[in-house]
């Protein structure tokens, strides 16, 4: 007997005079408490959640220039053609957004700009994925196969997302303090070089720290054999680092202000610093951390409306405008689409469309270790 039936029976007994009001309320309260302790209300809310109305689709992204480009080149033309409004939201980190989706109701969130295949896999593992009808997204034909294959691997050959852009988290350094030769000689080991104590930075993200710990100890980040050595490298980096940065804005500020001379950093942010004239260079060491972002559709969303919006967002003119705004190469295959002049100059850009030189995180390997490693990193980060 489910809770709804149970409450209806209680109400019926009350109305029939079998229960006085106080007993009815007491039983109702007890039932609510029991349901609360077993988590039933939350699950119940999820079951009863309503899909977004066909009049609107919600998109959540990183905000800033990317959001503006989407609004101008995709959302407004989409609304004009279909009459469906796009509700545009932003988030600060992928982790924060996942918490929002988890706390929200099915259908409340529709499409979002996800980072990494591992992120996609997390949503799939939590049951938030859908199966897209690719026939409704003809612009997928412009997207590199190399970017779609990993997503298909997670969702049994189907897609719940359209790949959108890619980049690397490579080494960024101040060219007035560190030479190109030194950077190439030391690679990831420069992040644990005592010579730069107090002038080293790093993203306070467990995946990135472990990835670079693996590189600093000459290991394959997708198949680490000596985890103790990696933790030691992370501790060494922690003791030499001035600060763990937590956002792209903070990364740019620390490098631009000269607070730090070297850190790993997001290729697009470093390109933005270079365009602003700062003496910051970017170096992708062997096995540098590559990632790809996608536009993921979440369970409970109005599928056809979302598919049509994805098609608008994958339109080459839109995709190129967004890519130029955020300084990350688009997922469009450069052998099929003319990407203009700026994109080929961006860090991590691969003109072959094969991405054979980039190393992406293996989602099964990283998500399989997520619970243990993220927790342990939280302690190591704080001096343990």
């Amino acid at each position: 007997m489910d809770n709804t039936t149970r409450y209806q029976r209680l109400l019926e007994r009350y109305r029939n005079g079998d229960l006085d009001r106080r007993t009815f309320l007491t039983l109702l309260g007890a039932a609510s408490l029991t349901a609360g302790l077993t988590g039933a209300p939350l699950k119940g809310l999820q079951r009863q959640a309503m899909a977004a109305t066909p009049e609107s689709v919600r998109f959540d992204g990183w905000g800033g220039v990317v959001s503006e480009a989407f609004r101008k080149h995709a959302f407004d033309p989409y609304t004009e053609k279909t009459g469906i409004k796009v509700v545009d939201g932003t988030f600060g980190s992928g982790d924060e957004y996942l918490n929002r989706v988890k706390a929200g109701q099915e259908g409340e969130y529709n499409i979002f700009h996800a980072s990494g295949v591992f992120d996609y896999a997390r949503y799939v593992n939590l049951g938030y994925d859908v199966v897209l009808n690719e026939a409704n997204i003809p612009n997928l034909k412009y997207v590199m196969s190399a970017l779609m294959t990993p997503f298909r691997g997670v969702t049994g050959g189907k897609l719940s997302a359209a790949p959108y852009d890619y980049g690397t988290t490579g080494l960024a350094y101040n060219t007035e303090k560190i030479s190109k030769q030194e950077m190439e000689d030391k690679g990831a080991k420069i992040l644990i070089d005592p010579k730069y104590k107090g002038k080293i930075g790093g993203w306070g993200d467990w995946r990135t720290r472990i990835w670079y710990g693996a590189l600093a100890t000459d290991q394959n980040p997708n198949n680490i054999q000596d985890m103790d050595a990696v933790w030691d490298a992370i501790r060494a980096h922690r003791d030499l680092a001035l600060k763990y940065w937590g956002s792209g804005a903070e990364l740019m500020s620390l490098l631009a202000e000269g607070e730090i001379y070297v850190t790993e950093g997001w290729s697009g942010r470093i390109a933005a610093l270079q365009q602003q004239g700062h003496p910051i260079a970017y170096y992708d060491a062997p096995n540098s951390y590559a990632w790809q972002e996608c536009l993921m559709v979440l369970k409970g969303s109005p599928l056809e409306a979302c598919e049509e919006l994805l098609n608008f967002m994958l339109e080459p003119s839109v995709s190129i405008a967004v890519a130029e705004g955020q300084n990350y190469p688009p997922s469009l295959d450069p052998t099929k689409v003319d990407l203009g002049e700026k994109i080929p100059t961006l860090p991590a850009f691969d003109p072959t469309g094969k991405l054979a030189n980039l190393t992406f995180a293996d989602p099964a390997y990283w998500n399989g270790n997520e619970a243990e490693w993220s927790k342990k990193f939280g302690r190591v980060q704080k001096g343990y």
Partner: protein
């Protein structure tokens, strides 16, 4: 007869009716969410990041037995305590000055005290980067005057976390002390002086004891607010300057471990609640009300 008189004196349902909006808000926005957090703390995180519903004591066993959490908790209490002490030392004098000031611009002085609240707490905290950073105003000035030849590394340590907290908490302290001092009858100080007390003795024997309710209320507020913050150590702290609320943030947001995060947040709530209980035991919760009279 006595019973009838007691019934006549009874306030009736009106106070409850008047309080019902506030009570409803407290129940719905505080008590009910707290119950959910309590329930969550007995669940477990699944490998995928979901929750295993049930009654498990694993999170509590971990939180209460692991010295990592204990150490960060003590560090949090120490930082909050130091920040509160600094707030007392820095806050009393301006509060005394405003309260005893006879200038017609007294309202403007109080307004100035409120001014920081008009700016986002995060922006206020980040402003220290532009002041104390390697390229910040202080270093630029010291370099320009020739006092130093290389920029000083001032930011991202415990001292700057305390500085950020003091910046955030000081108005709360000053306002509490100000209200308390402002309520002290100035004739008492005059009487003490007329009886031969020096200015210092008058302050020590009359003004300070009578302003203790405000001082205590301000200290309690500053301590509790300081101990619960996570933004300041995140922006102005280094790798080792985390506070307990950062652990809650990481457990819930980064590790997607809502059950553990719930247990951690309840520990912080209980510890800070214990501080309030101790305060009530020694200062009396009525002192809080006195400071606003």
């Amino acid at each position: 007869m006595a019973a009838v008189a007691a019934d006549a004196d009874a306030p009736g349902p009106r106070p409850w009716l008047l309080m019902s909006p506030a009570l409803t808000a407290v129940v719905l926005l505080l008590a009910v969410p707290l119950c959910f957090i309590l329930v969550y703390s007995f669940w477990l995180r699944t490998a995928a990041g979901g929750e295993q519903v049930g009654f498990f004591l694993d999170n509590w066993a971990e939180v209460l037995s692991d010295e990592f959490y204990r150490d960060i908790l003590f560090q949090t209490l120490r930082i909050a305590g130091l920040s509160t002490v600094v707030c007392i030392l820095l806050g009393y004098i301006p509060a005394y000055f405003i309260a005893r000031s006879t200038t017609r611009h007294k309202a403007a002085l109080i307004l100035l005290l409120m001014l920081p609240f008009w700016i986002s707490y995060i922006i206020r905290t980040m402003s220290w980067i532009n002041i104390l950073g390697v390229s910040g105003a202080l270093n630029v000035f010291l370099l320009w005057t020739g006092i130093i030849s290389e920029p000083l590394q001032i930011l991202y340590n415990e001292a700057t976390v305390i500085l950020g907290l003091v910046h955030f908490l000081l108005p709360f302290m000053i306002l509490n002390i100000y209200v308390s001092i402002d309520g002290i009858d100035t004739n008492l100080a005059d009487a003490a002086r007329s009886l031969g007390a020096t200015g210092w003795q008058t302050f020590r024997e009359v003004t300070l004891p009578l302003s203790m309710p405000g001082l205590a209320a301000g200290s309690l507020l500053c301590f509790v607010l300081g101990a619960g913050t996570y933004i300041t150590p995140m922006i102005l702290g280094g790798p080792r300057n985390a506070m307990f609320a950062n652990l809650v943030f990481e457990a819930i947001i980064t590790q997607l471990n809502w059950p553990l995060g719930s247990a951690l947040s309840l520990v912080l709530l209980v510890v800070l609640g214990a501080v309030v209980v101790v305060y009530t035991r020694y200062a009396g919760i009525g002192q809080l009300a006195k400071s606003f009279k």
